[in-house]
């Protein structure tokens, strides 16, 4: 191991968390609770990380809220669920460790920092109906609205999302018919929450943990960019960071926790690690692979799991505070009735209402021609969809902004205008319309996942929430672009069951921990399930904070035998 001790230390703590999303904050809070001095280094001017941009879901199998509500579930079923879906690309011990500790960490933070969560009613696992270990509801939790006024001066420096309606909870949204039925939402409640700055979804989840850190006097340092780890020849003992172009040497007596999310804003890493080309991104520029740059020189091992490329679009006139285009996900609108996605040949290529299905097809390579047959692609919808449903920030009934999409009075004209075969597109629409009449999609099984109806569908649409024909002009086409998966990465730093980073020799790197999206997704393998990423961050942080404070969890050791591991 390298030895690069500085001549001086500027800051000092037992545990230093790099990154202020749920992973870093969980680690700092847990370490503090176990007697360690902790501090957090945040590169940007705002706390909360990618957690604050998310929908704020926590996937926790066998959690106490579900059990109290009489929902039948267990960590065992949760383990079997993820193991089955990981398709053996994960590691069984990692899966079990995560499932066992997620429920413990949840209760821990509820007790210690006043985190308030509840079951999202009627929100099924992605694969409910596919595997018997899935549940119809109970594993997906969300926070109760958080009063951001209690953050004091940090309120303005705690991140919110430009992409999700963080003044409403899932329950508020879905009891009114979901995103499809936005016009039914309780806007008086939204106005009241915005006025009071009560935050829900990911912004609320992040704010609970920021408050937890503030209440403990944990040093929260923003605008400080970790550049390299400092080692004493045998272990990681600190961080060299920069602030205003000056070096800041931060000593970590017990450990450094890398919780800097992933590499989605690094085009080179996307290409070489994720095999993803030219991605737009919904996350901020600092998500650029700092986990690899920091952990690489101390020998951390990297692992990759199968992953997808998401699809999205930019609405003209919208940008980030940095002046960059604001990307929006197409996940939800492409699953709505009267809406399909076609490739350059005018053909559908996947189940638009289940992103895990269609997105695996986006980057398929046709080896015969060395092309991507399904990219570029377009979403096609009709006047019914435009009248009833939002498309990103374009509200129901509103014209698409100038320069956004193509509008035509017929499918043939639309095909000609976007440059796809008119006959093929006409046939595709005709076949889809025929499927809709029968309430089934024999080609791609659209709508077969209950989650699809819940997240992407219109519950009031007959005969099926995800199936509605494209009949009424005008017809629209919006080209979809590749975007990242909200910083949920294919590759990450390998960690053990105490969240310690692991080297290429399979031994833990003393003094270095890794949390959340910085860590390789060996708990999920080929699978992703909404709520898992936030739960991973919380769980990794909990494990790292305990281990670094000399109080490692022994839960896995107690339980693994029961699972034959």
């Amino acid at each position: 191991m390298i030895r690069n001790l500085p001549a001086r230390w500027d800051l000092e703590a037992d545990v230093v968390a790099i990154g202020s999303g749920i992973g870093g904050l969980s680690a700092a809070i847990t370490a503090h609770q176990h007697g360690s001095r902790a501090l957090v280094l945040e590169r940007t001017a705002e706390l909360g990380g990618v957690t604050a941009l998310s929908l704020g879901e926590l996937w926790v199998a066998g959690n106490h809220h579900a059990l109290a509500a009489g929902i039948e579930d267990s960590p065992d079923a949760g383990y079997r669920y993820l193991k089955r879906l990981s398709m053996d690309y994960g590691e069984d011990t990692a899966i079990l460790n995560n499932v066992l500790h997620a429920r413990v960490a949840l209760q821990y933070f509820e007790e210690k920092i006043g985190l308030k969560t509840r079951v999202i009613p009627h929100c099924p696992d992605y694969y409910f109906g596919i595997t018997t270990d899935a549940v119809a509801q109970g594993r997906l939790l969300e926070v109760l609205p958080f009063p951001a006024q209690t953050l004091g001066d940090w309120r303005a420096h705690t991140r919110v999302s430009p992409l999700v309606p963080y003044a409403l909870t899932h329950e508020d949204i879905f009891e009114k018919g979901g995103v499809a039925n936005m016009r039914n939402w309780d806007f008086d409640l939204m106005a009241e929450r915005l006025q009071k700055d009560e935050r829900c979804l990911g912004a609320g989840l992040a704010a609970y943990f920021v408050k937890g850190a503030l209440d403990r006097g944990i040093g929260l340092h923003t605008g400080i960019n970790a550049q390299e780890l400092i080692c004493d020849g045998s272990r990681v003992v600190g961080v060299r960071a920069t602030r205003d172009a000056n070096d800041v040497f931060v000593r970590a007596h017990r450990g450094v926790v890398l919780a800097v999310s992933s590499y989605e804003r690094n085009a080179g890493y996307n290409k070489s690690l994720g095999q993803q080309l030219d991605l737009g991104s919904m996350v901020f520029p600092s998500i650029d692979g700092a986990n690899f740059r920091l952990a690489g020189p101390v020998g951390a091992r990297v692992a990759r799991v199968p992953d997808i490329t998401s699809l999205g679009f930019c609405v003209p006139g919208e940008e980030t505070p940095d002046g960059e285009p604001l990307w929006r996900s197409a996940l939800q609108p492409i699953g709505l009735p009267h809406t399909i996605v076609v490739n350059g040949m005018g053909r559908r290529f996947g189940n638009e209402a289940f992103y895990r299905s269609i997105l695996y097809a986006v980057d398929i390579i046709d080896g015969g021609t060395q092309t991507h047959p399904n990219f570029p692609c377009w979403t096609i919808f009709d006047g019914q969809a435009r009248e009833k449903y939002p498309f990103g920030s374009v509200m129901p009934g509103q014209d698409l902004p100038a320069g956004f999409g193509v509008r035509a009075d017929s499918i043939v004209e639309l095909a000609q205008r976007i440059g796809v075969d008119a006959r093929a597109l006409t046939d595709t629409v005709s076949a889809f319309n025929s499927h809709c009449a029968k309430s089934e999609d024999p080609e791609f099984h659209r709508g077969s996942h209950p989650w699809s109806a819940w997240m992407c569908g219109d519950p009031g649409n007959e005969p099926h929430p995800n199936l509605g024909p494209l009949l009424r002009p005008p017809f629209y086409a919006v080209q979809l672009h590749r975007i990242g998966g909200s910083a949920i990465p294919a590759a990450g730093v390998v960690s053990d069951h105490h969240a310690r980073a692991v080297g290429w020799d399979d031994k833990p790197i003393e003094g270095l921990y890794v949390a959340g999206n910085s860590a390789a997704r060996l708990e999920t393998g080929a699978c992703m399930q909404s709520g898992v990423s936030n739960a991973r961050g919380m769980t990794h942080g909990y494990l790292a904070g305990r281990h670094a404070s000399g109080r490692p969890s022994d839960l896995l050791q107690k339980e693994r035998g029961r699972f034959g591991l």
Binding site: P162, L163, F187, G317, E319, P321, P401
Partner: protein
Amino acid sequence: MIETEQRISIGCGIETVWEYVEDIRNWASLMPGSQSCAVLNRDDSRWTLKVGAGGLVKTVIVAVHVEQWNAPAGVIFSYALQGEPVVGRGSYSAARTSAHETEVTLKLRVEGSGPMSRLWEAMSTPLLPQLAKSFAERLKLEIEDAARAAPPPAASGGRRSVLGSLGRWLLIRWRAIIRSGLQQ
């Protein structure tokens, strides 16, 4: 419908305040995120603004129509966001408190239209008071700064009055240039 009201006291006489207010481009430039203002005629202008909320910055074009110019005490205007189902009205009222003090009241109203009107109004609820407050504070600052840069000759003497006269001359020339641009 969402309404807000802001009152400010500006440390200048009502005529001085009016000199600033009667140029609609001054209004546009005080708006948070102001990008440009195209004056179509005495009463109509198009303001391009970058409005920020919750991490989103959106470029909007606002068509502003002044319904009444009541010099020096009032302006009544209406506006509409181009391409968005949002309209509104507002007013500027000025009252002489003293020879060197003017109380200004700004009222602003937002109305969404169409099926999503309540969404627009909900989003405007926290934004509108912030926007009006920011506008009012900048209005006060700009007018008082301009007045300080160009004090009336009677208030100064000696060398200071020469500089004051020069500043006032520059200010008058500047306004003349602005107005000639407006007429083009």
